[in-house]
Assembly symmetry: C2
Homo-oligomer: 145 residues x 2
Amino acid sequence: MKISTKGRYAVKVMFDLALNNTGECIKVKDIAARQNISEKYLEQIIAILNKAGYVNSVRGAQGGYRIAREPEEYTIGMILRLTEGSMAPVACLDEGAECEQCDTCETLEVWKDLYDAINHVIDNVTIADLVAKRRQREGSLDYCI
Amino acid sequence: MKISTKGRYAVKVMFDLALNNTGECIKVKDIAARQNISEKYLEQIIAILNKAGYVNSVRGAQGGYRIAREPEEYTIGMILRLTEGSMAPVACLDEGAECEQCDTCETLEVWKDLYDAINHVIDNVTIADLVAKRRQREGSLDYCI
DNA sequence: TTATTTCCTATTATTCAAGTAGGATTATTA
DNA sequence: TAATAATCCTACTTGAATAATAGGAAATAA
């Protein structure tokens, strides 16, 4: 039961755009280099974020991407659901799923609890939280040197 | 991020063996019929449970399987880890994993929280809990009729 | 000795993850 | 205006994993 690179990279992209946001455009190439991800693969992932309006794009030379809203407004859950699809641990719990045995399925209740627990975590962390942690870390590093 | 049929079926097997336990052997064929799973595929899954000592087997005619210990002693987590492997949402958190970027990875902390939440759920439900729920359901059904 | 059951291993079909590749389109800038 | 730099779009590939299917060997009860 793993989160795929698609979802993980999407979170990294949003984090990177928030962390390095100066109002200027940020190129895929730069994100790929910083996050150590294939540039071409990242293009596809950021395209999903773009279509969903999570980021804004500027085409042409000196173009790139910017985070569309404030980092506080993006939870990890939003980003994972967009890129990974449902975070339900079993298909029975996906939206629009039909299962005849669900009424008499004791295990389903466990999966429901698991689903709730997963959602609770990913819906209560925002990109802003991740940026804050990095800033804090950078701050404490200054003291070390 | 889905639990595979292997893990789900393994839980169903343990549940079935506990629910229908009379001290007699239970055949794979019967479990497969009750749980609506391919017999041959179930053989492979129950073999894992058998090797781990979660069930005891009796070969030959009138043979079959019995749950080895009390249903209270088997958590869902034990069964899933045995059949699925680690339940960590990212490979970085698997045992023996090595990741150079972990020290400066803010997202990892989210995955850790997620991992903890997952473990908390699956380690606090036992097969006995599932059986109890079924018994309760059966009891209330009697009143309905 | 026959029927029944577990045990063991190999094979397969399908799907999905994770990228790779190539070029079209759009905009800046020299 | 031409060169350059960037996003955009689509198709393809490769490898691994999932979810079985298949066939028979070994063990045991009746």
